[in-house]
């Protein structure tokens, strides 16, 4: 058995001198998959903010919506992949619905009121979820062909979890690819850079805003849809998740996709390891990091403003 030594300080917290390398690896993988979920949550928020300058308080609610939709469509269709796609697209459409109906009216308004509006939308979405799906949590089972996993150290890591980690990286590459090479991506980058110049160049910002809203919200919906197999969705989950989304944003800084990815993964890994080694203070470690970043680099590690 391989062991790695850890500096004495953790002993005070964990009572452990050494942990096995395999267990460390296992917990890190768990951290990676949790980070992937944070990433799926954060990427849409970052995209939407970068382009529209709006911080979408309702973002976590859409994430959860994806989970609920997954529950419904998987229960009815029995096809996991199809349900994923459906959940993703429908969530994106719901996002677009709100963008066209409400958010469009407030692009030039005081940012405080923008935040308030998205907060109001979050409440409405959360409550509609309660009305439609009821007060009890919903979950789905991992599909047959995904069951099982590998043992690393004392921990069983399911194939599903590994897939999610892979998907996280895949989404990063895809988003990066689309933004940087496609024509649509060029439009997005231009509006991101400078809204006014983009209009002068003939780009219709409303079309860009709406499509970015669709993509961002759809990704959140995908995240929720993937999560339902591992963690039930129920009332209050959105409230809980929005905090994580914001913590990632605070540490990474607003507006940088790559930064959001790195920080999401980091937070996932750190909080997992902390939950394993020092469960009493795991959340506090994350907050302390946030506070430290705030003190030393207030615009975030990768922030632009």
């Amino acid at each position: 058995m391989y062991t790695i030594g850890i500096h004495p300080l953790p002993k005070l917290i964990t009572g452990v001198w050494y942990v096995s390398l395999e267990n460390f690896l296992a917990q890190s993988l768990i951290g990676l998959y949790k980070g992937s979920f944070y990433w799926l949550l954060a990427v849409g928020l970052t995209l939407i903010f970068g382009v529209t300058r709006i911080i979408n308080f309702a973002h976590a609610s859409f994430f959860v919506l994806g989970g609920y939709l997954m529950f419904t469509s998987y229960t009815y269709t029995g096809s996991f992949v199809l349900s994923l796609v459906v959940s993703m697209i429908v969530t994106g459409l719901v996002g677009v619905f709100f963008e066209i109906l409400l958010i469009r009216r407030i692009y030039r308004v005081n940012p405080i009121y923008q935040l308030l509006l998205t907060f109001g939308i979050a409440l409405v979405v959360n409550e509609f979820q309660k009305i439609i799906w009821g007060k009890f949590p919903k979950y789905v089972d991992i599909p047959e062909y995904m069951r099982g996993g590998i043992m690393i150290g004392d921990v069983g890591i399911s194939y599903y979890v590994l897939t999610i980690i892979g998907l996280g990286f895949l989404i990063l590459i895809l988003v990066h690819f689309i933004i940087n090479t496609s024509l649509w991506g060029l439009k997005v980058r231009t509006v991101w850079r400078d809204n006014v110049v983009a209009q002068v160049l003939g780009i219709n910002p409303n079309a860009v805003y709406t499509s970015v809203f669709f993509l961002g919200t759809a990704l959140a919906g995908l995240g929720g849809a993937l999560m339902v197999a591992l963690h039930p969705v129920g009332p209050g989950l959105g409230d809980h998740l929005i905090v994580y989304a914001f913590i990632v944003v605070v540490i990474a800084g607003l507006g940088n996709i790559m930064g959001a990815f790195i920080v999401s993964i980091l937070i996932g890994v750190i909080s997992s390891l902390a939950a394993w080694l020092a469960p009493e203070v795991d959340i506090l470690i994350v907050y302390s990091i946030a506070a430290l970043v705030l003190l030393l680099k207030p615009e975030g590690l990768f922030g632009e403003r």
Partner: protein, 331 residues
């Protein structure tokens, strides 16, 4: 001269009327009304403190519950573990807001207003996490029970007693806050909300003004939290969860953030709706969300805004003008 101005002030008149009305409530002898009105006073203070930050200084916070919870828990812990008296516990609870405001304020107030909003949510949840995890001290998710009303100095066990206890602090706080807003510090705070960007060029430090606003706001919020813990006798961590921070925001938006007593009106509406109409309570968050949307997209003034518009229209009619002038009132 100041006194004459104060006496002519509509807000002071409102406060006096409110104080008299509230003072009469215990005479009904109804325990429920006494309790619910006590809660109304607590929430009013919470909302007023919030509006100092939001309506006057333009700072949106999603972490205001941290002051409420800190005041509540510190009072609870102090009276349970150190010195058994509600009055002393209250004072200590209120004081605890100062270090909290300075530390959190220092870390969060140097940013843009939007970033500040996000940060307050994060810090508020940090407090929540501490309250939940530190079982040995805070009782974890079970919280603390048995917060005494009968103490060494003061015994406010009977409904009338605790009611008047709360009422006294309520009146003192509402008046003090109003005098503060009318003072030169209040002017600076209003300047902050009116045009933050110009402020440095008039020789004032934005950060300094934000800091003392945050602290004053925190003190009143902590007071409301301390009163809450004494009133309820029990505190649990959910008063630190960020959704509880949204409640004073809602009360302020509903009642109106432009006028001083707006949040009090909002607290009244809020309590009436959530406690009196149980059916309503089922879907109240939904209506709340819709109300917020309505306020942002449509009418920013809240209920007090509507009322004031109506009153203004009334005042503009010629006969009414004569009436107001003869009473010697100005708004």
């Amino acid at each position: 001269m100041l006194l004459r101005n104060v006496l002519r002030d509509v807000n002071v008149v409102l406060i006096v009327i409110l104080a008299f009305t509230l003072a009469l409530i215990p005479l009904t002898g109804d325990r429920f009304y006494i309790y619910i009105t006590s809660l109304f006073m607590v929430y009013s203070l919470f909302a007023l403190s919030y509006n100092l930050l939001f309506g006057y200084a333009g700072l949106l916070s999603f972490g205001h519950a941290m002051f409420f919870a800190t005041g509540a828990y510190v009072t609870a812990l102090f009276t349970l573990k150190v010195f058994r008296d509600p009055l002393v516990g209250l004072i200590i609870g209120v004081m605890s807001a100062i270090p909290l405001a300075l530390i959190v304020g220092f870390l969060s107030l140097r940013h843009t207003r939007v970033y500040f909003a996000i940060l307050t949510l994060a810090f508020g949840m940090l407090i929540y996490a501490v309250l939940v995890k530190w079982r040995s001290v805070t009782g974890g998710t079970d919280g603390l029970v048995g917060i005494p009303k009968r103490g060494v100095i003061l015994d406010i066990s009977s409904p009338q007693a605790y009611y008047y206890f709360i009422l006294v602090f309520f009146i003192i706080a509402v008046l003090s806050l109003y005098i503060f807003i009318k003072s030169r510090w209040g002017l600076m705070i209003r300047a902050l909300g009116a045009n933050e960007d110009r402020l440095p060029f008039t020789g004032h430090s934005v950060l300094t003004i934000r800091l003392y606003t945050f602290t004053a706001s925190g003190l009143i919020a902590a007071l409301s939290g301390s009163l809450y813990s004494i009133l309820m006798g029990v505190v649990t961590p959910d008063i630190a969860y960020w959704t509880f921070s949204a409640e004073p925001l809602v009360m302020t938006l509903l009642g109106g953030s432009t006028y001083y007593m707006g949040p009090v009106l909002g607290a009244f509406i809020f309590i009436t709706l959530t406690t009196m109409l149980a059916r309503f309570a089922e879907y109240w968050l939904l209506l709340l969300g819709l109300a917020i949307i309505a306020v942002v997209v449509g009418f920013r003034g809240g209920v007090s805004g509507v009322l004031v518009l109506a009153v203004e229209r009334l005042m503009r009619s010629v006969e009414a003008r004569g009436v107001w002038r003869s009473l010697g009132l100005k708004t």
